[in-house]
Amino acid sequence: MKIELIQPSKQKVWGWPAVANFILGGAGAGFYLLSFVTRIPGGGMTAMFDPVLFGLLAPVLVGLGFLCLTIEAGRPSRGRHLFRHVRHSWMSRETLAGAIFVPAAVLHWLFPNTVLWLLGTASAVGLMISQGYIVYRARAVPTWNVPIIPLLFVSSGFATGAGLLLAPMGWLTTGRGPAVIAMICVVVNLIVWLLYLHWSHDASFREGTKALRRPIALILTVGIGHLLPALVLLRALVGPGVETGAELPHIVAALVAVTIITGGASQKAGIILAAGHYRGIVLRR
């Protein structure tokens, strides 16, 4: 016989500041990693992709994410202690990755060299992975404590990063690199998102993610955030005008970027705020 002692309830410990950190951190790291991919020969970027704004965007976003957390933490002045448990805590690892990433990315922009690039790349990867694992290790929340969460945070980070990458297309690029990358990231992220929504048949998971499966949420996360940009990008890449090398019009590229970023942001906001329900406590006699 099961007696439900405490019903599932919404978590209120992590709010918008935590969501902002997950969005900005993932987007910053994803953008940083993707911006290098597009710089390889044939990737479509020109030397124009090195102005101040883009060299510093990733570390600024990640830094802002961490700054948001100081609003939420009870004792932010004790932040120096956050490195004490790197061996076990993913939050310590995230802080360490961020603390390496921000200066490494800024220094690499100032003095480009391979060591700083490697440091920035490794810490960006670490940051994305650790953010996913932070959420995954929250045992009290059944919608977070599923193994697909780390993968979802990585794919979502890349998708939002690709959105940022796509934004300047049309005036900073000469090729289709960003559009191809954005297309791949959006499709992969959509697949992972749909897998997450149907990950478990467990009642607490189904109940917790119910808000994410509502039509209005699906329109935002799936329709506007993924399908719409994917279709526009698909048309630009394989549709009429491809032979002439025509690129996405500036305004269209910017709008597609906004929809992708909106999709990625709404995913993380949905997971943390709408689906963040504590599991109920049950006594089994």
Binding site: Q11, A73, R75, L283, R285
Partner: protein, 208 residues
């Protein structure tokens, strides 16, 4: 800890005395007594289930804490070093027993009025950090230093156990087969909460 649900009358004394003696911050949930009515055939059964930190053998809160403020003593008690906690809330979302709380405001239980005990609870070092039941570890520690036995000697036993008017709570060393708690677990049907999560809680409930 062993809690005999057959004896618990839901008076809430354990909860009140815990707040009072430990100066638990306002709004915190160090201990609560859940009152549930369940239908059994044609009658209703009312059950009272005291819930506090389960002091798990494999506590999920321990590994997630980024500052190592959460620690586990050799005897299994899980505690928090207030001075290290940043109040990030990670342990709160990691604890499947909802046993941890962060108090952000120095407000007392009865609106703006403070009872005689509450000024002591209004310590600023408890605001903005996570707090929870510590099995009265300072008390247990002091008792052990005097050569007393937790669970047998009141001075070395958590206050909730001492003050339980129905004698429903027992405390002691689960590793000692001769202790009162080990004997109760052997002789009765016991359950633990959320066992399927693999946390190995140290609080046992005697049912039926």
């Amino acid at each position: 800890m062993v809690i005999d649900l057959r004896k618990c009358i839901g008076c809430g004394t354990c909860q009140s005395v815990c707040w009072q003696i430990n100066n638990a911050p306002p709004g915190s949930l160090w201990r609560r007594v859940v009152d549930r009515e369940i239908r059994e055939y044609s009658w209703f059964l009312r059950v009272f289930v005291p819930i506090n930190c389960m002091h798990c053998s494999r506590p999920p809160c321990l590994k997630v804490c980024p500052t190592a403020a959460t620690y586990q003593r050799v005897d299994g008690i899980v505690g928090i070093k207030d001075e290290l906690c940043v109040g990030c809330g990670y342990c709160v979302v990691a604890c499947p027993y909802l046993a941890r709380t962060i108090t952000f405001q120095d407000k007392m239980r009865f609106e703006s009025k403070r009872d005689l005990q509450e000024p002591a609870a209004s310590k600023s070092d408890r605001i903005g950090v996570c707090t929870k039941c510590n099995f009265c570890s300072p008390r247990v520690e002091a008792g052990l230093a005097k050569g007393l036995i937790p669970g047998s000697d009141p001075e070395a036993t958590p206050v909730c156990v001492n003050f339980c008017i129905a004698n429903a709570l027992s405390f002691g060393d689960l590793d000692d087969p001769e202790s009162e708690v080990s004997r109760l677990i052997r002789k009765n049907k016991t359950v633990r909460l959320q066992e399927e999560l693999g946390t190995e809680p140290s609080v046992y409930y005697i049912v039926d």
